[in-house]
């Protein structure tokens, strides 16, 4: 790997669209772009996960490199000349977004939709180019998978899954170390699966919900959100976020309670929180129903009962 031979704490300087910017050695091109104030689309990258660089929407042009380079994983190296808005970059970013739009249901992936608009992605042109009125025309393949509602905590709708690997990473090495889910199959048929697609309660899943928290498309969704959406009552704009500390144990995980109409609809943790890095356990994530339990009404007190028998 290229790197200046400086000691820990040394900086590297790169040029981004002609603008010089320095970042600590070891930081990625993406970090350098952010430092330079250049916004970069990302789908498979998250601040609290190891980069897997699979979606390729973040690609940039680096002088001297034959192909485009994923900004999210490539370390910035001294002297790199980086273009983030060249014709080549725009083309590949647009195509990635278009490919996903043509294959998946992205109706609940707001950020991807914004970037698709930004780059002028037209997911419809594949179907358009294939249909010439005749009935025998080839149809374009779409990721189809019935929604999996197997418990009260979260659902899995893999027709929305863009295979960003985030849930796999969160369930595995990067957070949970449970390895309940993995990518199975190959190519276009690859899917996130438990072994033999057994239902989630039969699998190794411990319901930490960390996979749900990192999913960028709504393919994994808390049951609360899923049920509210089903009746047209999911209103993110009306939701309030309250930061608090989980009351179950002494670790001190920070929680963000998302409330709508004074009811908790989702619990997350900030990705930059030093204790959790955004990851929680089942108790902090799902164990909030008691908050909405009917107010505690003391039963007839013992002393009252005792009083009555004593007489």
């Amino acid at each position: 790997m290229t790197s200046s031979n400086g000691s820990i704490g040394s900086q590297v300087t790169v040029s981004i669209d002609g603008q010089e910017v320095s970042v600590p050695e070891g930081q990625t091109i993406l970090a350098a772009c952010t430092a330079a104030g250049v916004e970069t689309p990302t789908i498979c990258w998250a601040p609290n996960l190891t980069p897997v660089n699979v979606c390729r929407v973040c690609v940039v042009e680096v002088e001297g490199s034959r192909t485009l380079v994923p900004a999210c994983s490539r370390p910035a190296a001294d002297g790199m000349q980086i273009s983030t808005d060249s014709e080549r970059v725009r083309h590949s970013r647009r195509m990635v977004l278009e490919f996903l739009g043509s294959a998946n249901d992205l109706s609940q992936a707001a950020e991807i939709a914004e970037w698709s608009q930004h780059y002028g992605a037209d997911a419809g042109r594949y179907a358009a180019a294939l249909s010439d009125e005749s009935e025998t025309a080839v149809e374009i393949a779409h990721v189809d998978d019935p929604v999996r509602v197997q418990d009260d905590l979260y659902i899995r709708a893999y027709d929305r899954c863009v295979l960003c690997y985030k849930c796999v990473e969160a369930c595995g090495d990067d957070a949970q170390h449970t390895f309940a889910i993995a990518v199975a199959g190959r190519g276009f048929d690859a899917r996130i699966r438990t072994e033999y697609d057994v239902e989630l309660p039969e699998s190794a899943c411990v319901y930490c919900g960390n996979c749900v928290a990192v999913c960028p498309t709504g393919a994994l969704q808390f049951r609360t959100e899923f049920d509210l959406r089903a009746v047209g009552e999911w209103r993110p704009d009306d939701q309030e976020v309250t930061r608090t500390v989980c009351s179950y144990c002494g670790v001190g995980c920070n929680l963000e309670l998302h409330t709508q109409d004074e009811r908790i609809v989702k619990v997350t943790s900030p990705a930059d929180h030093s204790v959790t890095s955004g990851h929680l356990c089942i108790k902090g994530r799902f164990g909030w129903q008691y908050v909405h339990a009917p107010a505690f009404e003391p039963p007839a007190t013992e002393s009252a009962a005792a009083d009555s028998t004593e007489t």
Binding site: R88, A129, D132
Partner: protein
């Protein structure tokens, strides 16, 4: 930076690894026996005819692999089933890639099926010289290839074999008939100079060997043509445990050279891997061979056993005072596992998904350690360089592509087979050597599915790295697939497009979706007879993104045959 440590324990086969993470999934703790996952899945498949939940769980528990991950691995490979089969039979795999399709593969598959055989149509089986090809995946019996038992001998021809001072990989194979035990006999091998390269390598020392390889100008024969000397130098300079890997996954449609090299000269392959190991300072060598090559596998295993007896492998390998041994692993039906980093993942017991480069294998290869990975043809060239020296080696071929190249001729030529010719031999001359084109030439596919079509105006093209590159095509690993005007080129191209969508690992978006869209558009073009303007534009757009933004070489090259075919007018419409 974390200290890196990797230990091969000869008794348990355990590999303990501690290095910065380069592989998805699995913790360090879980990695110790994980590289045995692929052999274990092979065993389950062979005994039960599928990978059952009980079997998978047992294997997972034994090797410390979580069931979801083991399932993810099992479902990656064409040779593994994760649903119970409705029969107890061995499975006949029939190749339906272009050369076999021309030779009547569809009819063959139909016949086999009607005779009651379990039949599976799949990609190139590396037997294109004797198309249509069949491979039998055994159920409680060894895998086999019917043509290995009663097929005709494959034809081997070498232009340079006659001159002892010129490099020739095929020289010794020409006299020994295919079925002969001689191919695997250490005695016969030594009698014809086997072992000399190993001795020379030890006498000269690593620096001199690498410098001879560099000055010979040897470049990799696996398709990417990377300078071998640079690769070996980098790994020799690396610290700690290292690996050498012979990449015998050979799954590029139209390629069958590595199969024949391993079947006909297995001891030379073992000697060359040992040379590589001792030169770069690796203690462990690996052979990763595609699962559809039972005879080559058997001969290589036998050769490894003989090399151990001979003292080439072991604690004091070839008297070097250092340990070196070789393990063999079988692939399970996945073209992508020939890509070097996908191969590492596959061998380590992960899904055969390529890693992003950099870091490169020379620093972060197998088990995260510095690794030399070479094609067997490359390795055999090292033996020739040590035999005749770099100068004599350079006397053949061109300035920029010294030496010979093995070409796999298949399709509409008089004598399909394996041909060794100096780099720079014009295409037309090579075709003449192989008995000429049968009928009227329509197109030649150079480099296989990852290569490109050239037309009859390319007969003068010198087959060197530099000339093919400047002509906008490639030699790849050496396949030369010939099609005359009786071939339905539209269906050939459609099949190539299908090949890529079938073989994409699915990891990155440009290739996972791009190969599928490309195949759909080509299918539609064939149905309608000619491409429309918007279809041409789409194919160009898809090619741009796959070539520029994919992770690995599969995506980078997935559009090249289709586009070159369209430009030659093979998909109907005008040439462009």
């Amino acid at each position: 930076m974390m200290a890196a440590l990797s230990v091969n324990d000869a008794n348990t086969g355990a590999v303990v690894v501690d290095h910065p993470r380069v592989v998805r999934g699995g913790t360090r703790r879980r990695k110790q026996l994980r590289h045995l996952l692929l052999p274990a899945l092979h065993a389950l498949q062979r005994e039960a005819g599928w990978i059952s939940p009980g079997g998978l769980n047992f294997v997972g528990r034994t090797l410390g692999v979580p069931p979801a991950e083991a399932y993810g691995v099992a479902t990656f490979y064409e040779m593994f089933r994760t649903e119970a089969p409705a029969h107890e039979l061995s499975v006949r795999h029939v190749c339906v890639d272009p050369i076999c399709a021309l030779a009547g593969a569809a009819r063959l598959a139909e016949n086999l099926r009607s005779q009651g055989h379990a039949t599976h149509e799949g990609p190139c089986l590396g037997q294109c010289e004797r198309a249509p090809a069949v491979f039998i995946q055994g159920r409680r019996e060894p895998d086999r290839v019917p043509d290995d038992e009663h097929g005709p001998d494959s034809l081997l021809v070498s232009v340079t074999a006659g001159s002892p001072d010129a490099p020739s990989l095929l020289r010794h194979m020409l006299d020994a008939p295919a079925g002969s035990a001689e191919a695997a006999s250490m005695e016969a091998y030594r009698a014809r100079g086997g072992g000399d390269a190993l001795e020379a390598a030890l006498r000269l020392g690593p620096d001199e060997v690498i410098s001879q390889i560099s000055s010979s100008g040897l470049s990799g024969r696996g398709g990417a043509a990377f300078p071998t000397g640079i690769k070996w130098r980098a790994v020799a300079d690396g610290d700690g445990p290292k690996h050498v890997v012979a990449n015998i996954d050979e799954s590029e449609p139209g390629t069958f050279k590595d199969r024949l090299l391993c079947e006909r000269d297995p001891l030379a392959i073992i000697e060359s891997i040992t040379v590589a190991g001792l030169v770069v300072g690796a203690a462990q060598g690996w052979i990763y061979i595609r699962g559809e090559y039972p005879l080559a596998t058997q001969r290589l295993r036998h050769a490894i056993a003989q090399a151990r007896l001979e003292g080439w492998l072991g604690d004091d390998a070839a008297g070097s005072g250092r340990p070196f041994d070789i393990d063999l692993r079988r692939g399970a039906g996945a073209y992508i596992c020939g890509e070097e980093t996908a191969l590492f993942n596959s061998l380590e017991g992960y899904r055969g998904e390529p890693r992003n480069k950099p870091p490169f294998p020379t620093t972060h290869g197998l088990f995260g350690r510095p690794t030399v990975v070479n094609n067997p043809e490359t390795l055999l060239n090292v033996i020739e360089i040590l035999r005749i020296g770099p100068e004599a080696y350079r006397s053949v071929g061109t300035e920029d592509s010294p030496g010979t190249k093995l070409f796999c001729l298949s399709g509409h030529v008089g004598r399909p087979g394996l041909y060794e010719a100096p780099f720079g031999t014009p295409l037309g001359e090579l075709l003449s050597l192989a008995g000429g084109v049968q009928g009227t030439l329509s197109a030649v596919l150079l480099g296989g599915a990852a290569g490109s079509f050239v037309g009859s105006d390319a007969l003068e093209l010198p087959l060197s790295l530099e000339d093919t590159r400047s002509a906008g095509t490639t030699l790849g690993s050496g396949p030369v697939m010939v099609f005359n005007d009786s071939a339905d080129m539209g269906s050939v191209i459609e099949r190539l497009a299908k090949f890529f969508s079938d073989e994409s690992c699915g990891q990155c978006v440009p290739c996972r979706v791009g190969t599928v869209r490309q195949h759909e558009i080509v299918t539609e073009i064939r149905r309608a007879g000619a491409p429309t303007g918007s279809q041409r534009l789409l194919l160009d757009d898809i090619a741009g993104a796959m070539g520029d933004a994919s992770i690995c070489g599969l995506g980078h090259t997935a559009a090249s045959a289709v586009l070159s075919g369209m430009q030659l007018g093979l998909l109907g419409g005008d040439e462009s």
